[in-house]
């Protein structure tokens, strides 16, 4: 027991005691030091203490990286809004392939500096919702970005706050109420969240109150996210009520802790029901979310990730999972997405903004076919006039076809599937403005034989309504998909004051890959008053897009005018009127 007595000669005992006592001053700090630096919870304590004393400096990029970032988007437009998602921010040794959800502090700072130097400005979810709903770019900064954090982690808030402040950016934090109320040091608690929300850098958003859990409830089956799990014997109605109560509870909690009204929702683990075990969960979840949140984020399509833009499903906006990337890696990732977004942006017709006045004027001059109780497949005329009709759109090919038509001073008639309109509504505006005709291709393009009369009527009405919600024009033509059930659809269309327009030339372009074959088949059969069927959607339509210029050039050479179906019908009507007179 008396170690000093055994080991130290008597005359040195006092000195030994003194030296030991002095040594113990630093030595007694060792456990505290180890706790504060080596344990995860201790490190969070350290960060709180350290950052409360003085905000840490945010390192800038070196000169080469700054120049690279500044030049990265000078020629590459940022079409849409990049939405990024982070989880945790840690120390370098806490990152790695086995910890994909931790970004090192240094790299997070580099990424934020990159955004700053590349001229990005942070927007919030409400801004993004407005942009997606209205398509109005003028509401956004030139290079917008939406930075989000999932899970409400303490490390993320502690580390990100000073960096965001230094780079003049802001972010949304998706909070799980149960974690914020818990005793866990790893999640920011409500009083901290309240403070963060007050200083203007953070926007608090909803990530369910207590459904951010993976549940391993069935042996031998992969764990499932609690949000999309039905409890044993649970009916969908009960499921909806349960989820709705949970999300409402979190929204109330956020509001009660200074977070205001949360507009956005994040699917825990990015699962919106794609891994649900029961059918109907996806739709049930959508029904719950639709009235409660304005936008919901997932992490789908990581490899093909692009910026959020009008036409996106507001309940499925994809975010980029941020990894421990350097500034250069981050720029490369953003540039790839920017190129992809540029294409999509154009495909959705978003690159051309058409003033409302132009649309109204175009609607006034747009011709509409006189109604006919019989389906029309061609017009008897001697004038060299033909019409081209397109089925299956809207699609990414539609704007390209519009380009080709415009270049050849031709006009087409597009039998639009109502369900494709929300994603690409600006294309309709373009159609109307350029004098092409919008026609009703029904809502889904399903085989009409499988539909009841009421369903057919609903599909027609719904499509018209969708078109009218975008442009001041009501389609007056329709066409039975697959040319099936013609009589019934004609009857219903007639009641809706619409004419059924069929075709006289069908080159079967949807099953062809050679543009030359399509062109040959069309040109061989062309006669005055013919209606040609082509497809702008439904499959890969690049062959049609390439065939069309050849066809139009050849027709021009032969002296044909290419007009819309309505115009063609009007011409025949006036001809027959004239003949009858």
């Amino acid at each position: 027991m008396s170690y000093t007595h055994r080991l130290v000669p008597p005359r040195l005992r006092g000195t030994f005691e003194l030296v030991l006592g002095l040594l113990m001053i630093p030595l007694s700090l060792v456990p505290i030091g180890l706790y504060l630096t080596k344990t995860p919870e201790g490190y969070l304590m350290y960060l709180r203490g350290r950052y409360a004393l003085a905000a840490p400096a945010t390192p800038g990029l070196d000169r080469a990286d700054r120049a690279y970032a500044a030049a990265a988007f000078r020629r590459l437009p940022v079409d849409g809004v990049p939405v990024l998602v982070y989880h945790g921010i840690g120390r370098t040794w806490e990152t790695g392939p086995d910890r994909p959800f931790v970004v090192s502090r240094a790299h997070f700072a580099a990424q934020m500096r990159t955004l700053q130097d590349a001229g990005f400005h942070a927007i919030d979810s409400a801004d993004l919702v407005r942009f997606i709903r209205t398509g109005d770019r003028s509401l956004l900064p030139r290079r917008p970005v939406l930075i989000t954090f999932d899970d409400g982690r303490t490390d993320a808030m502690l580390e990100a706050t000073p960096i965001l402040r230094a780079t003049h950016l802001s972010a949304s934090m998706f909070v799980t109420g149960a974690d914020a109320s818990s005793a866990s040091i790893y999640y920011a608690n409500w009083s901290e969240l309240n403070r963060y929300a007050d200083d203007g850098i953070w926007q608090l958003e909803n990530q369910t109150y207590d459904l951010h859990r993976m549940v391993d409830d069935v042996k031998g089956v992969a764990p499932i996210s609690e949000l999309v799990r039905l409890q044993p014997h649970e009916q969908l109605a009960h499921y909806r009520a349960r989820i709705a109560a949970d999300i409402d509870r979190n929204a109330r909690a956020i509001a009660a802790h200074g977070g205001g009204v949360s507009t956005a929702f994040s699917y825990p683990f990015g699962d919106w029901g794609q891994h649900a075990r029961a059918p109907g969960v996806v739709e049930a979840l959508r029904q719950v979310l639709r009235p409660r949140v304005q936008i919901a984020f997932d992490e789908d399509h990581q490899s093909g990730w692009r910026f959020a833009m009008p036409g996106d499903d507001l309940l499925h906006v994809h975010r980029l999972e941020m990894r421990d990337w350097t500034a250069t890696e981050f720029i490369a990732r953003l540039q790839a997405a920017a190129r992809l977004s540029q294409t999509t942006y154009r495909e959705r017709g978003l690159d051309v903004q058409i003033p409302r006045s132009t649309l109204v004027a175009a609607a006034v001059t747009a011709s509409c076919a006189p109604s006919s109780s019989e389906p029309v497949s061609s017009v008897a005329t001697h004038a060299k006039v033909v019409a081209f009709s397109f089925n299956g759109g809207l699609s990414p090919y539609t704007p390209q076809i519009l380009d080709v038509l415009a270049a050849n001073r031709a006009h087409g008639t597009f039998f639009v599937l109502g369900q494709t309109v929300p994603e690409r509504s600006p294309v309709l505006e373009r159609m109307l403005a350029s004098g092409d005709e919008i026609a009703n291709g029904m809502w889904t393009g399903r085989h009409p034989a499988a539909l009841t009369q009421a369903e057919i009527e609903l599909e027609l009405k719904r499509t018209n309504a969708e078109v009218q919600s975008v442009v001041p024009f009501r389609p007056c033509l329709t066409r039975p998909p697959y040319n099936e059930d013609r009589a019934r659809i004609t009857r219903i269309a007639r009641r809706l004051d619409m004419t059924t327009a069929l075709w006289s030339i069908d080159p079967h372009d949807q099953s062809l890959t050679d543009p030359a074959v399509i062109a040959r088949r069309v040109l061989r059969k062309i006669t005055p008053g013919a209606i040609v069927l082509l497809h702008d959607g439904g499959s890969r339509r690049w062959a049609t897009v390439q065939a069309l210029p050849r066809i139009l050039a050849a027709l021009q050479q032969r002296g044909y005018r290419v007009v819309t179906v309505s115009e063609l019908l009007t011409r025949s009507w006036s001809t027959s009127q004239a003949a009858g007179r």
Binding site: M1, S2, Y3, T4, H5, R13, G14, T15, F16, E17, L18, V19, L20, G21, L22, M24, I25, S28, L29, P31, I32, Y35, L36, T39, E41, G42, M45, R48, G49, A52, S181, S182, A183, S184, I185, N189, W190, S191
Partner: protein, 471 residues
């Protein structure tokens, strides 16, 4: 304080820990003084650093309060209690010695102390106190060794000493009571046979009796064998904090609840009134044997002020072996149990802060084991980890020890951490064990504790007075 004979006080010499390891030539040098100040200052900075982290951790506990109300209410109350003690302690100022020298009788109960008794008597008589105002009453509680002969030898050299002998062992309380009755002076002082007084201790301890409301004063006790091993070093730190902080803060309100037996003084008037009750104290149907110091204090405290005098220093020998230490602590725990009930009955009449501190001190040891289990076991399985709690305890232990380092400038300081570790691992649990075995009143160190009343009393001394009539 219960006496536990662990050695002969004559073998030890009191020394100043702060300079022990420093060569004599250096002790008065400027370098040494500056170095001491520098170390002291760094300890203060260190403590400030720790307090900063504790303050930050508080942020959690406020949230956790909702999460785990029982546990965190406890932790907040305990923190408040400890802070209150440490904040009040610096306000304590020892009553200055203004030359007040009343007649003092020193009562020494002895049982089988042949090795130490002569030394003890001689040491007391060598005190810096007017000899005509000082007399000594030694009571041999029926020792089976040569204690009585040693007492007589001492009496021969110093005729003023009164020696009293029981023919059989009647217990420490009886010996004390007998001594009190034989004493004639205004002030009765008790010194354990294993304690050594500083030469000026007597003069210092009587200073507080200048206030007529004061019924008892306890001196400061240092550990005499403090460098024997880690156990005694640890007890030195613990004694210092227990006296300086706990008794010091209680003394502000004149409400010290335990005037340790090592060295304490009572107004004889206060004692005579309660002597009979004290001698025949029963608890749960058994005659109370140990915890005489605490019992006596509480009897006096009811109607008088009880003070702590930091300048009246005694040096006492503490257990050097764990087993011995454990038995001593168990005895203390038992007497604490008994006396908590006693003190709770009247302490509310004293200053509210003193009452609050006392009630908190009574309550917390009961809750502490449950909290410890809760923290280490339930937290470990639940959301958090016990590390947070363990680190909190460690930081508090270091703060506790740093207090000693700063105030005493002693290299022994870090043994305070050992004490907290021993306390958490071992002493905390004793409360319940003490409760279970409370009816077992055997002393654990003494061969025999009480042989009942009656019997022959032999008295040798200058003025053989009849015992005071029982009041």
């Amino acid at each position: 304080m219960n006496s536990t004979t662990a050695g002969d006080p004559s073998k030890f010499q009191p020394f100043d820990e702060a300079v022990r390891g420093v060569p004599e030539s250096l002790r008065n040098s400027l370098f040494f003084r500056v170095a001491t100040r520098a170390v002291q200052f760094s300890c203060i900075v260190y403590a400030a650093f720790l307090i900063y982290w504790v303050w930050l951790a508080k942020d959690f506990t406020t949230v956790l309060l909702l999460h785990d109300p029982v546990f965190y209410t406890y932790s907040i109350l305990v923190t408040g209690y400890v802070c209150l003690r440490f904040l009040l302690a610096p306000l304590y100022r020892p009553t200055p010695d203004v030359g007040y020298r009343p007649q003092v009788s020193i009562v020494i109960p002895a049982f089988n102390e042949e090795g130490a008794i002569e030394q003890t008597i001689e040491a007391i008589l060598a005190s810096l106190y007017p000899p005509e105002k000082l007399d000594v009453v030694v009571v041999d509680d029926g020792s089976t060794d040569s204690t009585w002969d040693r007492m007589l030898a001492a009496q021969e050299r110093n005729p003023s000493v009164v020696c009293v002998r029981f023919d059989k062992n009647r217990g420490k309380r009886a010996a004390m009571a007998e001594g009190i009755r034989r004493a004639t002076a205004e002030i009765c002082a008790f010194v354990d046979s294993d304690s050594v007084l500083e030469p000026d201790a007597l003069a210092r301890i009587v200073a507080d009796f200048g206030d007529p409301r004061v019924g008892a004063v306890v001196g400061h006790a240092d550990v005499l064998n403090k460098t024997s091993n880690w156990l005694t070093r640890m007890q030195q730190v613990r004694y210092y904090v227990a006296f300086r902080v706990i008794k010091g803060s209680e003394s502000l309100f004149g409400a010290v609840t335990c005037a340790s037996g090592c060295f304490s003084a009572y107004r004889r008037d206060a004692l005579l009134a309660i002597l009979d009750k004290f001698e025949n104290q029963h608890f749960l149907g058994r005659q109370s044997t140990f915890g005489d110091d605490r019992a006596l204090t509480n009897y006096v405290l009811r109607n008088w002020r009880v003070m702590y005098q930091s300048r009246a220093i005694s040096h006492t020998i503490v257990p050097e072996h764990l087993r011995q230490f454990g038995r001593q602590q168990l005895r203390w725990k038992k007497s604490w149990l008994r006396e908590s009930i006693h003190v709770s009955r009247f302490i509310w009449r004293k200053h509210p802060l003193a009452a609050a501190m006392t009630y908190a001190g009574v309550l917390f040891p009961w809750v502490a084991p449950a909290v410890l289990v809760h923290s280490l076991y339930f937290r470990a399985l639940g959301n958090g980890s016990p590390l947070f709690y363990l680190m909190g305890a460690y930081v508090m232990a270091v703060l506790y020890s740093l207090y000693y380092a700063v105030v005493r400038k002693s290299p022994l300081w870090w043994h305070g951490v050992t004490f907290v570790a021993i306390y958490m691992a071992f002493l905390v649990w004793q409360t319940y064990y003490a409760l279970l075995t409370i009816r077992n009143t055997s002393w654990g160190t003494r061969a025999s504790t009480h042989g009942g009343g009656g019997g022959v009393v032999t008295v040798v001394g200058p003025a053989v007075l009849p015992p005071e009539p029982l009041l």
